[in-house]
Structures are given as C-alpha cells and as structure tokens.
C-alpha cells in the first residue's frame, strides 16, 4: 500500500455527482472551500503584518541613516569652521598684539611663526603685504619677499572685507595650500596692511579623513564651484570638479538622496561653512547603508514562509479530518436510512403475503371441501359407481390443495412473525421452516442439505422473524456460493454458558482473504454485475447484533465458507 493510499481520506473517492442520491454533499467542494477560507483568514493578516513590519523597519532605518549622516556632516562642518576660525583669530590677535612694527621685524616674525606652528599647528609661512600689494615682510620656506599681489583677488577681497579665507589652490609654489588673510590698520600712519598666513592642507585633510564612516563612506570638502578641496576616495581627484550635484547655499545641514554615476545611489550630507568657500560633503552608499535591511528582509521572509507552510499543513489536516468526519456521519446516516427502508419493505412484503395468503385460502378451502364432497359421494353413496380413475383424480386435486394450503400456511406464519416481538423458539423447527422454503431449489440444483440439530436443544426466547431472516440470508448466501451438486451443512449446539451456536457451512467458492474483512460492509458485493445489492450480509450482521449475538466467518477460496453465529439463549426483551 502506497503512502498516498494510507493518508487518503475516505471521502476522496466519492463521486461528485449525486447520482445515487446517497451523497448529500460534494465533499471535495466542502474540503476545498474550508481550506480556501481558513487559508485566506489566516494568511492575509500574516502577510499584511509582515509587509507593514518590513516597511516600518525600512523607514526607521532610512530616517536613522539620514539623521546619522546629518549629524556627521554637521559635526565635521563645526570642526572645520572652528579650525579656520581659530587660525583667523590667531592672526587677529597677532595684529592687535604686535602691531605692524612688531611684525615687521623679521626676527620677531620668525619667533611668532615658530610659536604659531607649535601652539596651533598647520601654519606654513606668514607675511605682510602693504596696501600696494607688495610683500614687505615674509618668513617661510619660500622666497616670496617683495612679490607683488596687487592684482590678486584675495588681496583686494581682504582689503575690502577685513578677512579672507581662500579655497585650496596650487599657487606659485605648485602645492595645494590655502591662505588666511586679514586687514591690519597701522594706527600711527593710518596705512592698511594685509597680514597673510599660509596653511598646509595636511591637518585640514586629516580632520576629514579621520571621520569614522562605516561601509564605504566618503567625507571631503568642495568649494562653491564644486572643486574638490580635500582628498576623496571615490568622487574625483583633488582640485577637479566633483561628480555630484551641489545644492544652493543654505545655512543648515541638508541630506539628499543623489543618484550617482553608474547607477549607484548616494546619501549625501551637505553643509556650507559660513564665511568660507568650503562645503562639507559626507557621501555614503545608500545600498551599503541599507544592508541591515537585507538581513531583516531575509529573516522576515523565512519566518513568513515557515509560518505559511505550517499554517497550510494544519489547515489541510484539520479540513481533511473534519470533512472526513462529516462523510463518515453521512455514510452512517445513509446506512441507517437504508436499513430502515429495508425493514419497512420487509414489513410491507409480510403484510402483502398475509393478504394474498388469506385471499387464496378461502377459495382453496372451497375447492378442498367440494373435492372432498365429491370424493365422499363416491365413497358413501351407492348411486355413484366406484370409479377408481375418477377417485384418483379427485384425490390428486385434494392432495394439490393440501400442498397449496401448506405453502400459504407457511407464508402466513412467516409473514405473521415479521413484526412480532419475542417468542419462544425451537431452533430445529425454525431451521426446518426456513430450509423448506429452499428445498425445491436445492432439489433442482441437487444440493444436499444435512442438518445436525440435536432434539434436546432448549427452546429460547428471541425474535422469530429476525432469526428467520438471519438464517434464510445465510442459507441463501451459501446457495449462491455453491455450484450445482454442492453440500450444505447446518449444525447447532448448546454451549455451556447459556449460548446457542449454530453454523451454516457450504463447499462453495469461498471468500478471498482480502475481501473477508469487508463482507459485512454495506454495499460491498462481488456480484454487483449480476444484481447483488451488497446488503444481505450487512443486514444479517445488523440483525445478529440486534439480537445480542455475534457472527464470525471462516473461509478458504475453493473449499468453502462457514458462518458461525452465537446467540444468547435468553434474548433481552429490548432487542
């Protein structure tokens, strides 16, 4: 037996069309409907919840990323702004403290540069330019004394605005650097000077490169034209134009999703540094940022798939179990209905038989009396000659009538007991009565009937009609199993504990092993094609149980079958 056959529910093989009228429902449809409804009710909320959860997680992750980027950008802007402001203030302090004379002195300026280098750091050189653009004092690694800056933009800007911070440029020395400058008014002469210091980019750069950015983040600065000012890992080389769009000036830090070249999405934080040309850019790979979401998504998906599978298994299991129960209940009901139908029909047949027997009995009695009278006339009256031939005919009529009478009487006794309750029964008498019905058929088919019933069997109380039916069914069954010339053996014994055992044995075709456990099932028949209903043995079994007895069968294919019935000698009144 394959696995499929083992788990297949009983209702599975039912026909969906109710042709027999026995199937009250389409079980497959109920089954499918139950599964569909349960699945919809259980799975839709699950899916919706998972979807909502996923979206909430994504949104919170996104906003957290934006927030973190904004914070980093803001912090960086603050450090850079502070760094530049510090150095501008240092120049201011020098101008205030030393005055132009003090700074003019090259020894003093050397000392000042040395102390700036140690205290602040980042200073490369320092110089003073007069209002004609002439560098009049310079301390630094380059020979820039006397250089003319009058045409330079920063020089004019410094005179105009007081302070100036340049973007990073190569300049005369062909090395990236930036300058901070401030206007100094010599109070004595009323002449304007510009105090200028050069800062190296090393410290400046390290401020940005040291920012800890997870997953391929990039922090650098550009000027307002988008020229890269500090080294960038991915977005272009120093002093070239950045490959990202720069939003217009805003005092606040802003974070934007920017589609980059090559289909990568970037989360970019922008911060303009006030009074400088610098813009801080913190660039992060959006996909990299959203990596945790992938993990969460996979986890969600797994949990959901496992849950769905589990729910489906349970739903299918429960639906199958329930529908099977309905099916079994329906089957039981159909069986009960059928048995009631059968009982009713038997009762009707019984009443009909009684009516027919009665109707026939009266004319039969008249024939009997008339023939008897003719016979008497021949015997007693002298005027009728003793004609032996006539007498023989009359006797034959009388004999036939007597035979008919026996049959109708038997029919009556049989019919009478159909709805009779308990009765005292001599088993031998009952067996004879039943076998008499079939004696003619037995003669035609030359079936030998042997009865082994002891005379001293005690009479027992039971329902005669049911017992007759049981016995008749068994003998009929045996007849059908046997071919012509078979042997039927009927025996009865009283066993010790108040029980009567009787057996009906034939030497017919026998029952295959596989069928034995199904022969008492309703509608099981090996003779379906030749008109068997498959109800005989099932009804017999039901009747035996009703009378409080048990029924057993032993059979061997080709050798014959024995049905053994054990009946209590004292049947209960309720049976």
């Amino acid at each position: 037996m394959s696995l499929m056959e083992k788990i297949r529910p009983q209702f599975w093989d039912t026909e969906s069309n109710g042709a027999t009228g026995k199937d009250l429902f389409n079980y497959h449809r109920i089954w499918r409907l139950a599964i569909a409804l349960l699945a919809v009710v259980a799975l839709i909320p699950l899916t919706v919840m998972a979807f909502i959860d996923y979206n909430v997680t994504r949104h919170s992750l996104e906003s957290e990323n934006l927030l973190r980027t904004a914070r980093t950008t803001s912090n960086t802007r603050r450090s850079v702004a502070y760094y530049l402001e510090e150095r501008t203030k240092a120049l201011e302090f020098l101008a205030e403290h030393e005055g132009i004379e003090g700074l003019h002195d090259s020894d003093n300026l050397t000392n000042i540069l040395a102390s700036l280098k140690t205290s602040f750091g980042g200073f490369v050189d320092i110089g003073i330019i007069n209002d004609h653009g002439q560098q009049i004092a310079y301390i630094g690694p380059y020979d820039l004394l006397g250089r003319d800056y009058s045409e330079q933009e920063w020089f004019r800007d410094s005179l105009e605005h007081g302070t100036y911070i340049s973007s990073v440029f190569l300049g005369f020395r062909d090395e990236p650097h930036l300058i901070v400058a401030r206007k100094v008014l010599d109070a004595r002469t009323g002449q304007d000077f510009v105090l200028r210091a050069t800062l190296d980019t090393g410290q400046f750069n390290s401020m940005l490169t040291s920012i800890d950015l997870p997953g391929g983040g990039d922090a650098f600065m550009v000027d307002r034209n988008g020229i890269i000012q500090t080294p960038s890992k991915q977005h272009g080389t120093l002093l070239t134009k950045v490959d990202l769009a720069i939003p217009s000036y805003s005092e606040k830090t802003s974070v934007q999703q920017v589609p980059g070249n090559g289909g990568t999405d970037y989360t970019v934080g922008y911060a303009y540094i006030k009074d400088t040309p610098y813009i801080v850019l913190v660039v992060k790979d959006t996909e990299e940022l959203m990596k945790p979401l992938q993990t969460i998504r996979m986890e969600l998906l797994w949990i959901m798939l496992v849950s769905i599978a589990l729910i489906l298994v349970v739903i299918v299991g429960v639906a199958t179990y329930m529908v099977n129960k309905i099916y079994i209940a329906d089957q039981t009901r159909a069986r009960t209905l059928h048995r009631m139908e059968h009982t009713n029909r038997m009762a009707s047949i019984g009443r009909l038989a009684a009516g027919v027997a009665h109707e026939i009995n009266n004319p039969l009695a008249i024939i009997n009396e008339k023939a008897g009278l003719i016979n008497d006339l021949f015997v007693y009256k002298q005027e009728y000659a003793h004609d032996e031939r006539l007498l023989a005919n009359i006797r034959s009529i009388i004999n036939s009538v007597s035979r008919c009478g026996k049959i109708t009487k038997r029919l009556l006794s049989f019919a009478r007991h159909i709805d009779v309750e308990m009765d005292s029964i001599e088993f031998k008498e009952l067996a004879n009565e039943v076998v008499d019905f079939l004696r003619k058929e037995a003669e035609y088919r030359s079936i030998a009937i042997t009865m082994d019933i002891p005379e001293n069997l005690p009479a027992f109380v039971s329902d005669r009609g049911k017992l007759q039916q049981i016995f008749l069914n068994l003998v009929n069954n045996a007849f059908q199993a046997m071919s012509d010339g078979g042997h039927l053996y009927i025996s009865a014994r009283e066993v010790t504990d108040g029980k009567l055992v009787f057996a009906v044995q034939d030497d017919g075709c026998g029952i295959p092993e596989a069928d034995i456990k199904r022969i008492f099932d309703p509608f099981f028949s090996t003779k379906k094609k030749s008109g068997g209903t498959g109800l005989g043995l099932s009804i017999t079994y039901g009747l035996v149980e009703e009378l409080g007895g048990t029924m057993a069968v032993e059979s061997e294919v080709g050798k014959g079958t024995v049905f053994t019935i054990t009946m209590p000698l004292k049947g209960s009144k309720e049976a």
Binding site: L364, A365, E369, C404
Partner: protein, 116 residues
C-alpha cells in the same frame, strides 16, 4: 352429537356439513351469526365450528353470545387469515384454531377431542 357450522361462504359450509353427515356427524349449517343464534336456541349443539371473520357478527362475538346462552357448548375456530391477534384470541378460548384449508379428518378429530 350435533354440530353447528357457521361460515359466510355458503359453498364451503354446505359441502362441509354434507361431508360430516357422511361420517356420521350430525351437522347443521348457516351463513350468518343471527341465524346461528336462533338455531342454537331451538336445538342443543355440542360443538360450534365458527369462522373467525364474518360480516356483522364475528366468530369471537358469536362465541361470546352462544356461550352465555349455552355454557356447555364447545367452540372450534376456522380462519383463512393468519392474523396474530386472531390466533391469540382463538388460543385463549381453548386453542382450537384451524387455518383453512383443512382436512375433514382433522376437523372430525378436533370435534371429537373438544366434545370428548
């Protein structure tokens, strides 16, 4: 010994009476209960053979009325009907209950048995 036969089937009861005559049983017959009562008031019958089912007066009713007037009278019931109730009622009255058709000799034997 005189016997009264009552049956609504005239053909049956007349033939039966004649046959009893041949066997030395003095039998009168009628086909209804009223006539039977009247006959019984005039003649003294030892045994009455009654049909169970008759129009107007049934076998049992007739028996009750006859036995009230003639306490010594014995009864035998005949019936073509296998009714359980009839059988029980007949048995209650002495179990002399025969189902048609009957053998004349059985009837005579039964008559002699109840009369004896």
């Amino acid at each position: 010994m005189k016997v009264l036969l009552v049956d609504d089937e005239v053909e049956l009861v007349s033939a039966m009476a004649e046959r009893l005559e041949f066997r030395g049983v003095d039998a009168d017959w009628t086909d209804n209960g009223e006539a039977a009562l009247e006959m019984a008031s005039r003649t003294d019958y030892a045994v009455a053979v009654l049909d169970m089912k008759m129009p107007r007066l049934s076998g049992l009713d007739l028996m009750e009325r006859l036995s009230s007037q003639h306490p010594d009278m014995k009864f035998i019931f005949l019936s073509g009907h296998g009714s359980e109730a009839d059988f029980k009622a007949g048995c209650a009255a002495g179990c002399n209950y025969l189902i048609k058709p009957i053998q004349i000799d059985d009837l005579i034997a039964r008559i002699n048995q109840v009369a004896g």
